[in-house]
């Protein structure tokens, strides 16, 4: 064999190995791919948020350091057109391309088969396709940044007429629509896999009431994904036709002959949009339910009630969307109905909270970093959920609609709470994913900064909203009645900047631990769910032999177990000692 032949073979082998990883069908690799993608876009969307906050604190002042490079045409100042682009892309990326890939794509893929005792997802090829469809969506969305006439600027909701060819000429908004459609297709593919995996691939003995709450969270979210993301897809299809082929679904009949109705899009968007809130938070709730039990060293309080609450919230989430549309001229009778249903959804939500507090009560609490983030979620979501009651009520919503109160509310619930859940998940499963431990001290510093600044940033936004500050306003100093709020806006911005800077602690911890962190054993947290019965990271096939489940996921602090086994937890493959 000549030297050249050997070199060619070596290149082919290396290339083949790389392609095997890149287009892997292994759920663990795909989960990591989703995680990396989501983290990159989280950083991008976070940077956009910093630019938004700079403009609101210092309207008309050039952005320091990067301003002249980013906005050379305006001397580094964030102008009105740029501002609309910033909040449009911030919202779009955060919801569709950061939080969704990190939690649902990343941890859903990584955890579900391992926690259920399966070797892989039900449809591995579909899983690969799901990731690459998401990747294509991100590529299309990134391309829209560089489109002629500027990037998309119709808000993350893309309401017509702003998003029609009249309101947003140019190809950017069309690319946005395509990206959202592809993103939805990816989500539905994932949902098909998650639902089928839970229904069909549970290990022997893994009854529904023995599944970890994390699995319940992902399963419920997947059902919502399968049912409601298609509604957004339908809205995107019609918007695409309106923009590209000139149909008139969303162009008002009062502006063109035989036109349609812009509010129609709002119906389609919010039929999807409200369940989307739960699509994002349900996995985080499930994760928190497990973590609170694990680190309180006792079973989850009211496991069945928690599961029932998740199911009730799932069902109710599909019938409350109208509270987003109280000010669109909705019939008062319908408004009352939606208000009542929205209020009712707080009942199972409170039951969830009672379950969490009951789990903590008299537990042997271990304040590890994942536990801190889990506790943070409980508090932050409590505040965010409580503020939601004011927006569920027609009378107060009419006053608060489209103010910063709404911004503060949905950031506390959809952003702060979900991010807390995501960080809890990262800290908890990092050892299983990468075989090394994250640094606890850096994790706790990161938690402290993030927790405090999330509350101050979004809490003060609630105050701004009560003061009457509208959202999506480029210059709050332009109106006399808003000028007294400028100092408060500056405090929000300072808080947001500290939050942004605090994430560097996480970045340092993540990358340092990836290479230099202490090696993790199979079960560093001493818990009993199935993923902790295999090595860290798990082998390609997950389990040498498919496990047989004999107990629930939270068998902790049982005196009989302690007496028989000398430890305070039971692995799910072990039966409770007599």
């Amino acid at each position: 064999m000549t030297r050249r032949t050997r070199t060619t073979r070596a290149i082919r082998t290396t290339l083949g190995s790389v392609l095997d990883v890149v287009f892997s069908r292994d759920h663990k690799v795909i989960g990591k791919q989703f995680l990396w993608l989501g983290l990159v876009f989280l950083a991008v969307a976070g940077a956009l948020a910093m630019l938004i906050r700079w403009q609101l604190a210092h309207p008309g002042v050039p952005v320091p350091v990067v301003g002249r490079w980013l906005f050379p045409g305006s001397g580094g100042v964030v102008g009105p057109a740029t501002y609309t682009v910033l909040f449009t892309m911030h919202g779009t990326i955060m919801i569709f391309f950061a939080i969704t890939p990190i939690l649902i794509g990343g941890f859903g893929n990584f955890c579900l088969p391992l926690m259920l005792g399966a070797r892989d997802m039900a449809f591995p090829v579909l899983n690969t396709l799901s990731f690459w469809t998401m990747f294509a969506a991100t590529a299309v969305l990134t391309a829209s940044f560089f489109a002629p006439l500027g990037p998309p600027a119709a808000g993350w909701t893309a309401y017509p007429t702003l998003s029609t060819a009249i309101g947003a000429p140019g190809v950017a908004q069309t690319l946005w629509v395509v990206a959202i459609y592809l993103n939805g297709a990816s989500s539905v593919m994932g949902a098909v896999n998650y639902i089928t995996t839970v229904v069909r691939l549970r290990a022997p003995g893994m009854g529904f009431m023995r599944m970890p709450l994390t699995v319940w969270g992902f399963w419920m979210a997947a059902i919502l994904n399968a049912l409601f993301v298609p509604v957004l897809a339908a809205g995107a299809v019609l918007l695409f036709f309106d923009r590209v082929f000139g149909t008139r679904f969303f162009i008002a009949g009062s502006t063109v002959k035989a036109g349609g109705d812009p509010v129609l899009y709002q119906h389609l968007f919010w039929i999807f949009g409200h369940p989307e809130v739960y699509i994002l938070i349900l996995p985080a709730w499930g994760i928190v339910g497990d973590l609170l039990s694990f680190f309180s060293r006792k079973p989850a309080y009211g496991y069945r009630i928690t599961v029932g609450s998740l199911i009730a919230i799932e069902i109710l989430s599909g019938v409350v969307y109208g509270h987003h549309m109280f000010t669109t001229g909705l019939s008062p009778l319908l408004g009352q109905g939606f208000m009542l249903l929205t209020m009712i959804i707080s009942v199972p939500s409170v039951l969830l909270g009672v379950g969490w507090l009951g789990t903590l009560w008299r537990g042997s609490i271990r304040l590890t970093t994942p536990m801190l983030f889990a506790l943070g979620l409980v508090f932050v979501f409590g505040v965010g959920g409580f503020t939601g009651l004011f927006l569920a009520d027609v009378l107060s919503d009419v006053y608060l609609h489209d103010t910063y109160f709404v911004v503060g509310h949905f950031h506390l619930t959809m952003s702060a709470a979900v991010l807390m859940g995501a960080f809890a998940a990262i800290h908890f499963w990092f050892p299983k994913m990468f075989g090394r431990m994250l640094d606890e001290r850096l994790g706790q510093v990161h938690f402290a900064i993030t927790f405090v600044t999330l509350l101050t940033t979004f809490g003060l936004q609630l105050v701004l909203g009560l003061g009457g500050m509208p959202r999506r306003l480029v210059d709050p100093s332009a109106y006399a009645f808003l000028r007294p709020l400028l100092p408060l806006n500056r405090w929000v911005t300072r808080s947001a900047f500290v939050m942004g800077a605090g994430q560097l602690v996480f970045v340092v911890n993540f990358f340092y631990s990836l290479w230099r962190g202490p090696k993790a054993g199979p079960n560093p947290w001493q818990v009993g769910t199935l993923e902790w019965t295999v090595s860290s990271p798990p082998p390609h096939h997950n389990f040498d032999q498919l496990p047989v489940v004999k107990s629930g996921p939270h068998e902790l602090g049982n005196p009989a177990v302690l007496a028989a086994l000398g430890r305070d937890y039971l692995v799910q493959t072990e039966a409770i000692p007599p």
Binding site: A122, F123, L126, V188, A191, V192, N193, I195, T196, V199, R200, L201, A226, L227, F228, V229, P230, V231, A233, A234, G235, V237, L238, F241, F245, G246, T247, R248, F249, G253, K257, A258, G259, G260, D261, L264, H267, L268, I271
Partner: protein, 194 residues
């Protein structure tokens, strides 16, 4: 040649059940997409007729009359193909799958011809709400019909070449053809008959 089903056994039965669950979820998502499109159609239709627009527009029921036999033929031959696959009968499977594919392509061709006819009459997507509905729902459904025809064609070719085509695969493809036909039934009734 009819032999016993080649792909049987507990593992394959379990796989078939898994595929069935996946199909139900996937189809539910597709039904929700078309359901949302029909909801949008219903709302604009009510508003349009309230403003005095004639509906359905004259002459466009021909689309329904011509496309229907093709859609039905596709779904019926898909049933035959599926049954033949279950019996592992290559002799009857390949012709049935080919017929299903041809019927599917026929359906798509009718849609294309109808769109051309409408354009020749000067009816464009921007001609009003009725035209918007015809083009948007017709095109979106035709894309799914094309996907179904492509899948059936691939299976037919593989079957004719003597390749092993799993019963599960044929049944899944046939189920997709049935769904696309059923969606056409609903769209047809809602848009052209109502």
């Amino acid at each position: 040649m009819t032999v016993r089903a080649q792909d049987s056994g507990p593992a394959l039965e379990a796989r078939a059940a898994t595929v069935a669950v996946g199909l139900v979820v996937g189809f539910a998502a597709l039904v929700m997409t078309f359901g949302a499109l029909l909801l949008a159609y219903g709302l604009v239709r009510v508003q349009a007729t309230a403003e005095g627009a004639a509906w359905p527009p004259a002459g466009e029921r021909r689309l329904l009359a011509v496309a229907w036999p093709f859609a039905l033929a596709a779904t019926l031959t898909a049933v035959l193909g599926s049954r033949a696959a279950q019996l592992a009968s290559r002799n009857s499977r390949a012709p049935a799958l080919s017929a299903a594919a041809l019927a599917g392509w026929g359906f798509v061709a009718i849609q294309v011809l109808t769109a051309r006819h409408l354009l020749a009459l000067g009816i464009r997507p921007s001609s009003g709400l009725a035209a918007s509905v015809l083009y948007a729902l017709g095109t979106f459904h035709a894309l799914h019909a094309t996907a179904a025809a492509l899948v059936m064609s691939r299976l037919a070719i593989r079957s004719r070449c003597g390749e092993v085509v799993r019963t599960t695969t044929v049944r899944a493809a046939a189920a997709f053809v049935h769904l696309v036909t059923a969606l056409w039934l609903v769209i047809g009734l809602a848009v052209f008959v109502w």
